[in-house]
Symmetry: D2
Subunit: 498 residues, 4 copies
C-alpha cells in the first residue's frame, strides 16, 4: 500500500460486510454557489445523495477568500447537521461529497473534497467516477517532483493543474481535464466560482438546478428536491459549467463524442424519485418490470419484491402480469451501519438480520421474486431458501437487468470477474446455484426499451455505457492494460526461465 | 427529578425529535433458557424487536451461578453483536430488553434488565408495559426503608420481592405481582430458571417458542423467526410460565378476568411479519385497508402509502378499491439515529429529510394517502403539503384506525391529551388542519372486524384494550387518580384562599 | 463478584500496574456549606487531595432542594474544571470524593458520593476509611429486604439509615454510625446541612476550615490552602460536626475512647504541605530523616532521595549527617496515568519509565538512598540495581519507617501479607533481596519520637494506629474473623472427611 | 490560515494554557536502525524526550520495503506502549518525533514524521528546529507546481528533494539541505537506512548511541539511557551520519562554520540527567546556581527552588552560600494535561493548582527563591505573592540565566518580544513588577563560565547561540526580513497616502 505523510484513519467503518451483495456506486457530489445557507444546503443535498456513498462525507465552504473543509468517516445526518458544524463552515458557496470505498481504503486522507493552494489560487474538488489512466499519470507526475498524499485518483487532477504550463487557473484546469481518461463528474470551487464538469461520455450523472439566485450542480435531482430547488437541466456530457458572480456560462473544451451515460443508474444506483436522462427512475423501473413480465411469463400466485430495490420493478411486473403484489419479505429497518466483526453465532444468521419471510402469505404459494440484479448470488440463494422454509410451493426468480458479467472501471465497486456469478456460469447453472425453480434475466434489448429506446440496443452505436452487461468498454483502460502487459511479461519471463 | 446514587447517563440519544409523530411502544423483551448460544440468540431476538424500543438495550446472562449484565444506550446491532461482547455474557440462559423512553429519562440507570441479589437468590427482570400504581407502591416501600436507584417502575417489583413476608423466591414473586396494577409482560431470570409473566388482562404481548431443547419467551414471533425457533403459543393473560432444568410448567395465580390485549399492536406497533392473537399482523393490516376502502369510497387515480407503516393497509385499500397502488413517496433510508441538535437551517426542512414526493406519478393526479394513525398531525400536514407541491390534483387522507384521542398508561409513549390532534378537534377540523381535500378514519367497529370480531366492538365487554381510541381504561389508574386528587386539593386551597 | 442492576463501568483505568510498589490511600473527602462557588471549591479541594485517590472522582451539589451528582473514572483536573461541568452542579453546598481502588473494582457504581432519597429526605455521603464489619451488616440488611447496588461498604451506611427505627434523619444517622466498626471519616449532605464525622478512634484524618461564611470539612489542610480557606482545627475522633444555616455545632455520640490516628499518614500518605495532628507533615518527615541518620550512621559521599516521596526525609538525613544531598535519580514527569496493557518490550523497562540515574554524580560514589517504605521490594531492587549500573561504589538503603509487615483494614490498599517483603523475611534477608550493601529501617520508637512522642511508643496505650508495623489492630475485625472461621470449618470438614 | 486537502485535527489539547510561563522546546527526535525492537525502543526514547514536546507524537517504522506511520495528538505513554500499537509498526528501523506547538496549529497534519514516496524511493523525516527561510522556499516551490499539505516548515524539505535536479536520493537530500537556513536536527528513514543531520551551527542537539548492533540518533542522552544504549558521541554541527546495513559513515557537505549550539538547552530545555556538549546538565545547573550565589550575595534563612526546574540551581546556590536548602513550595503532581476551558472560578486560582507554600518553614523567614528564567513574569508574581501570604519576611528572587529579552526563531516557542518581561523593562522595574524584595539575574559571562568557558562570553566569536539573551542571531532571518520589508512598504504606502 502506498504510504504518505498523512494521518492514518480508521478502516473499520463498513456496512454489513457479511451480507452485501450489491454493486455500489462509489460517490455522490453536490455544489452550490450564491446561497446564504450554502453549507446547510450542501449537507441536505448530500443527505439526499447518501445512497451513493455511505462511508465518508465531506464539505468545503468558501467565505470570500477562505476555504474551510470538514471530512468525516460516517454519514451526513450524523456529522453535518448540527448548528455548530454548519457554523464552522461559513460562506456563500460550498461543495460536498459522499463516498463509498472498498475495505482497507476507507481512510480519511482519501476522503473528499480535496483541496490545494496553487500559486494561481485555492482549488477544491469533489469527484464522482473513476479515471482509467490515473496510475499512468501519477507515475509521470511523481517522476517530475509531485508528492502525493492519498491513493485517490482525484489527487492526480490537482497535480496536473499545479504543474500545467498554462497560466490562468481555468486554462490549467482544462489542460488537466484533457489528459484524463475514464469517467468523471466533478464539482470544484475556486475563489472565482463554482465549476461543474461532466466527462465527454457523460458516464456518471450531473444535473443543474436553481434556488432563488443560487445555482446548484449535483449527482441527482433528489438533491434538488430536498432543498426546494428547481431542476434546470442535465449538465451535458463534455460540458464545463462555470458559475460566478457574473452569472452562469458553459464551455465544451472536448472533441465531440457520442454520449454513453451509465445504464445501471436506472437499474439500481439512482434514487427512484430522481429524474435521469429526462426519465423518471421509478417509472423506468416499473417499465423494466413490465418488460420482464412480458419476456418471461410465469404461472404464479404472488409477486414479491426483494426489498427495497426490487419493489418498483415488482409493481410493474404485477401490474403487467395481473399477479397480485404482496410484501412477502419484511425488512428490519434497524440493521445498523456497523455489525463490525460480528461473532460467528451472529454471522451465521446472515440474511435474517435484514429480512424475514411473511409466512402467512407465502405458505403453499407459487411466488415470483423480483430483484434488480445478481452480483455474487449469495443473497439470492439465502432469499430463495428463506421462501422455501416459509413454505413456498414454487420460487421463480426474475431479475430486472441482464446478467452482470463484467467489472466496472468507471466508479462502481464491482467484485473481480471471477466472483460475479454471471462471470462464472450460465443462466441455467445460476438457477441451480440459487436453488430457484426458474430464473430469468431481462434481455439487454428489453432494458434499452425500458429506457425509451424502442428498438433496443443499437449495437453499432449504443446509447449507454452497459459494459457491466456486455463487456463493451467505451474508453481506453490504460492502467488496466499496463498492468496486464506487466503481468504477461512476468509470465513470459517465468515461462522462459523454466 | 428524583436523585440516586447511580451514575448519570447521557440523555442525548434521541431519534429525530423534530420529526417524530408516531406513538411509540416503550419496550420489547426476550428470554431464553437452555441454549448453548443463549446470549447470541438474545441479541438476535432483541434485534428483531428493535422496533419496540430503539434507545437502549440490555442483556443479562446466567452461567450456572453467576449473572452478567451489559446495558447500553444505543441499538442492538451496534452494541451486542461482536464476538467480544457475546463472550463477555456467558451462560445457557439469558434475558434481554430494548427500550424507548421519553427525553430526559434516557439514562443508563433506568435501562434493563434490572438485577437484585436477594437473600433468596439473584433475580434479573425485563419488563414491557407500565404499572399504574408504581408511585403509590414506591412511596410505601421507601417509608419502610427501601432505597430506590432508578425512576423506573420496574424497580418497584424488585423491592416488593425483597420485602415480601413469604419465604421462597417464587412465592415472594407472586406476592409482588398481586400488588401490581397496570400492564406488564415480564421475563425474569433466577438461578432456578426462566420465568415469563403476562398481566391478567394481557395488555402487552408475550409469546412462547422452542428451539431444540431451549424455551424462549419474547414480545413477538418475529424474534422467534430470526433464530429459527418454532412458535408454540401465546403466553396467556394472567399466566406465569416457569422453565427450569426439569422442564416447563405454568401457573395462574390471579383471579380470572376477561383479557384485553392492546389493539394498537395490530395497527402499528407489531412488526408485519409477526403473529399476534393468532393473526398475521400483515394480513390484519391489509384487511384494515380493505375495511377503510369499504367504509369510505373515494374517486381517485392512485393509492399512495405513507411509508413504511401505511404500506400494508394501502395494499389492502388498493386491492379492495381497484385503484392502483404506487410508491408516491420515496423514503430516505439514511435518516440516522441522531440529528442531535440540528441547526435551524436543517430543522426547517423537516419531513423532507425522510421523504420525497415521486413527482412524475403525482402530478395532476387525484390521490389517496393511507397512513396508520394521526398523533399530533404535524407530519400529516407536511405530507399533504408535499403532495400538493408535487402537483397532486386532490389529496384524500385515509387513516387505518379510529382517531387517537386519549393517552395510554400501559407502556406506550403518548403525548398529553392536549397535544393529540384528535383530543383537540373533530374530524372536519382535523381535515382542515392538515389541509387535505378529505379525511376519514376507520371506525372502531371496522377495526374490530379487521381483527376477526365480525360484529365489531362488543361495548359491554370489549375484547381488546382500545383506551387510546375510546378512553375506556381496563384498570384502575391509582397514580393518575392520586395526582389529580392532589392537584384538585391544591386548586381548592388556592380558590378558597383567594 | 456480586451483581447488581447497575451499569458496568470500565475497569481499565489503572496507574502503571507493573510498577506500583507503594501502599495507597483509598480515598479523600471534601465538603463545603454556604459558598456561592461550592462546586468550584469542591473541585479545587479534591484536586489538592488527588494524591489520596486517582482513579475516580465525584461531586454532589445541593441547590436548595435538589441534589445533583457527577461521578467519573479519572482525575479531577480532567473532569471537573470546565465551566460546563461546574455549572451543571449548582448550589451553595457540595461534597466530593476521590478514590483509588483495587483492580476489578474500579467501576462507576462503586464511586462516590453515594446518594439515597429517604422518606426523611435526601442524603449524600462521601467516605474515607474502611468498615471492618460491612459484610456482616450487609448480610443482615439483605435478609431484611434491602437491595444493594454496589460492592462498596459505604452503601451499608445508607441502608442502616433507611431501615433505622428512629425518626428524624439525624437520629437515624447516629443510630447507623453506632453499628459501624472500623475507620471512617465521612462528609454528608442533607437538605438541612453539611455533616462531618470522624470515627471514635480517628483513624483517618478530617479537618475543619472556614472561608468567609462558608465552612469546609476535608481530609487534609492542603485542600483548605488551595481555596484560600483558614484552617480552624481537626475534627476530633468521635465527633459529629453539623453545619446548617443556623451555624455550626458539634456532638459526640460515641463512648469516649483513646484516639488512634493512623501514623502512616505522616510517613507517606499526607501531602508534605499539610498539617496533621497539629504537625507539619514536611517537618515530621525531615525529623524522621534525622532520626534515621542518628539511628544508623553510615560513611557515604551522597544522600540521594528516591523521588519524590523520599525527598523530605533525605533532606533531614543530609542535614543531620552532614552528607551532601543530591538529586541522583531524575524522575520523568510524563509517566502518564495509563500504560494500559503495555507491550512486553515496554514492560521490560519497568522502573526506567519513571526514573533515570544521574550518572555524573553517582559514578564511583558511596551513596545513601532514602525511601519512605518498602512494600513488595520490587522497586527497591530495581533502584539499587540502577545505582550500581550508574557506577555507585556502595549503595546503602535507609527506610523512613519500620518494616511494613501487616495488612491494613482501615482504608489503605495493602497487598496480602505474603506479598509484603517484611511479612516474608527479616531485615538481613531483605537487604540481600534488594542487593543493597546495607539496609536499615527506622525503629518504631524513632518514628513516634519524630511525631513528637519523646519517649517513643507507649506500648500499653499507643497514641496512633500502627497496625501495619506492629499488627496491633485497634478495633475488632468482624468480617475478617468470620471469614477465617468459615475457612477453618471448611478445613475441619475437609480434614475430618479425609 | 493556509488550507489543505488534509483532515483537520482537534486543536483542544493544550497543557494548562492559563498557567504556562516557560519557553517551550518545540520538538524531540529519535531514530534507530537495526534493532529487532525498533518501534518499542523508539517509543521508549520518545517517552524519555517527552519534555521536549507534549502535544503530539509519531513513529514511522520500516519493515524491509514498507513504511508504516502512526501519529497522534497526546503523549507517548498514552498512545505508543500497548502491544497492539507496537505490533502495528513492524520493522527493524524506526524514527519518531514529539512535538509542542502553538495553539491553533496543533493539528494532526502538522505532526511528524512526515513521509513522501519519491520516484527515487520512500522517505520519512522528523525535525527538531526551525527554518528561517521556509516561507521563502515554499512560495518558490508552489509557483513551480508543488502542492503543500501542511503548514509545517519540514514539508519544504520534502518538496526540495522531490524537485531536485540531482539523481540519487542522497544527492537530492544534500541539495535540499544546502538551501535551508536556520536550525535543524533531522533523523530520516529511507529503504537504504537511517540518516541523521545537524545543521552547520548545531543549534539543536543530536547525539549518537549504540545498542548491540543497532545505532541510534536522538535529541538527548536520556533517550539512550532508557533503552540501555551506550552514548557514543554528539553528531557534529554540519555532519550527516548515514547508517545502513553496511555500517555507519559520515559526510560533511556544508562549508565549515564555527558552531553555535543553543545555550538555553543547559538552562532549561534539556533533562538534568542528559549530557550535552559533553557536560552533565545537572552539574551545569548546579554550577549556574553557584555562580548566581557568588554574583549576588544575599542575607537569607532559606534557599527555596521554584519546582521543579529551579531545583538543581537552588542546590548549587545553597551549597555555595551555605544557606539551607528547603522544599518551600510543594508541587501537585496531578496537574493534568488538560484543564481545557477551565471555568472562571477555577482559572482564578491559577498557580495554586500546581503549587502550595510549605507555610511551616516559610513563616517569618527571609527566603531566596531560585528559578531558571522569567518569561512573561506572571508566574513569578504569583509565586512571590504566595510566599508573602505564607508569611515570608523577605523574598529575594534569583534567576539562573540572563534576562530573556529576545524571541527565538530556531525552534523554541517564545512570546512576541512585547510580551517578554525583559523585553519591556529593566531589572529594577521587573523586581517591582513581581513584587520581590530583590531580583537578580545571572550575567551572560556567568552563564558561559558555568558551561565551561572560563573567561565568559567571547563577544567576537561566541561559542553558543544566545540570541534570546543577546539578540545576536547567528543566521540570516529571511522570512522575518521579508515580512518586515512588506510591513514597511505597507506603512510607507499608508503614510504617503495620508
Amino acid at each position: 500500500m502506498p504510504q504518505s505523510f498523512m494521518p492514518n484513519g480508521s478502516s473499520t467503518l463498513t456496512t454489513n460486510p457479511f451480507d452485501d451483495d450489491k454493486l455500489r456506486e462509489e460517490c455522490g457530489v453536490f455544489g452550490i454557489f450564491g446561497s446564504p445557507d450554502a453549507t446547510a444546503h450542501t449537507a441536505l443535498g448530500l443527505h439526499a445523495l447518501q445512497h451513493r456513498g455511505q462511508e465518508a462525507a465531506g464539505i468545503t465552504s468558501l467565505n470570500g477568500q477562505e476555504f474551510t473543509t470538514r471530512r468525516v468517516l460516517g454519514q451526513v445526518a450524523d456529522n453535518f447537521t448540527s448548528q455548530e458544524v454548519i457554523d464552522s463552515l461559513p460562506g456563500n458557496s460550498a461543495i460536498g461529497h459522499v463516498r463509498y470505498s472498498t475495505t482497507g481504503e476507507t481512510i480519511l486522507r482519501n476522503c473528499q473534497p480535496l483541496f490545494a493552494e496553487f500559486s494561481s489560487g485555492g482549488f477544491a474538488v469533489a469527484h464522482n467516477g473513476n479515471l482509467t489512466n490515473a496510475a499512468h499519470l501519477k507515475k509521470q507526475l511523481i517522476s517530475r517532483g509531485s508528492i502525493f498524499q492519498s491513493t485517490s485518483d482525484t489527487e492526480v487532477i490537482l497535480h496536473l493543474i499545479a504543474t500545467s504550463h498554462f497560466r490562468g487557473l481555468m486554462d490549467r484546469f482544462v489542460d488537466a481535464l484533457r489528459q484524463l481518461e475514464g469517467a468523471y463528474s466533478l464539482v470544484t470551487l475556486t475563489r472565482e466560482g463554482l465549476i461543474g464538469v461532466r466527462d465527454p461520455l457523460g458516464v456518471r450523472p450531473l444535473v443543474l438546478g436553481k434556488l432563488d439566485k443560487a445555482y446548484i450542480m449535483c449527482s441527482e435531482t433528489c438533491a434538488l428536491d430536498i432543498i426546494g430547488a428547481e431542476y434546470v437541466r442535465d449538465v451535458e456530457p463534455g460540458e464545463v459549467v462555470i458559475v460566478t458572480d457574473e452569472g452562469i456560462k458553459s464551455i465544451k473544451p472536448f472533441p465531440e463524442t457520442k454520449p454513453r451515460p451509465c445504464i445501471f443508474e436506472h437499474v439500481y444506483f439512482a434514487r427512484p424519485d430522481s429524474f435521469m436522462d429526462s426519465l423518471s427512475v421509478y417509472d423506468v423501473r416499473k417499465r423494466i418490470g413490465a418488460e420482464l413480465a412480458r419476456e418471461n411469463t410465469v404461472d404464479a400466485d404472488l409477486v414479491i419484491p426483494v426489498p427495497d430495490s426490487g419493489t418498483p420493478a415488482a409493481i410493474g411486473f404485477a401490474q403487467e402480469s395481473g399477479i397480485p403484489f404482496e410484501l412477502g419479505i419484511i425488512r428490519n429497518h434497524y440493521v445498523g451501519r456497523t455489525f463490525i466483526e460480528p461473532s460467528d453465532q451472529i454471522r451465521h444468521f446472515g440474511v435474517k438480520l435484514k429480512h424475514n419471510a411473511n409466512k402467512w402469505f407465502i405458505e403453499g404459494k407459487k411466488i415470483v421474486l423480483v430483484d434488480d440484479s445478481i452480483v455474487r448470488g449469495t443473497t439470492s440463494l439465502k432469499i430463495v431458501n428463506m421462501m422455501r422454509e416459509a413454505g413456498a410451493a414454487e420460487v421463480h426468480m426474475r431479475i430486472a437487468s441482464p446478467p452482470t458479467a463484467h467489472s466496472c472501471f468507471y466508479g462502481v465497486d464491482t467484485p473481480e470477474r471471477s466472483k460475479l456469478l454471471a462471470g462464472r456460469m450460465d443462466v441455467d447453472a445460476m438457477c441451480e446455484y440459487i436453488k430457484a425453480d426458474s430464473l430469468s434475466f431481462l434481455s439487454i434489448d428489453g432494458l434499452y426499451r425500458a429506457v425509451n429506446h424502442k428498438d433496443g440496443r443499437n449495437n453499432s452505436c449504443p446509447a449507454h455505457c452497459d459494459a457491466c452487461f456486455t463487456g463493451d468498454y467505451p474508453t481506453f483502460l490504460t492502467d488496466q492494460s499496463e498492468e496486464e502487459e506487466k503481468a504477461n511479461q512476468l509470465n513470459l519471463i517465468a515461462s522462459t526461465g523454466s
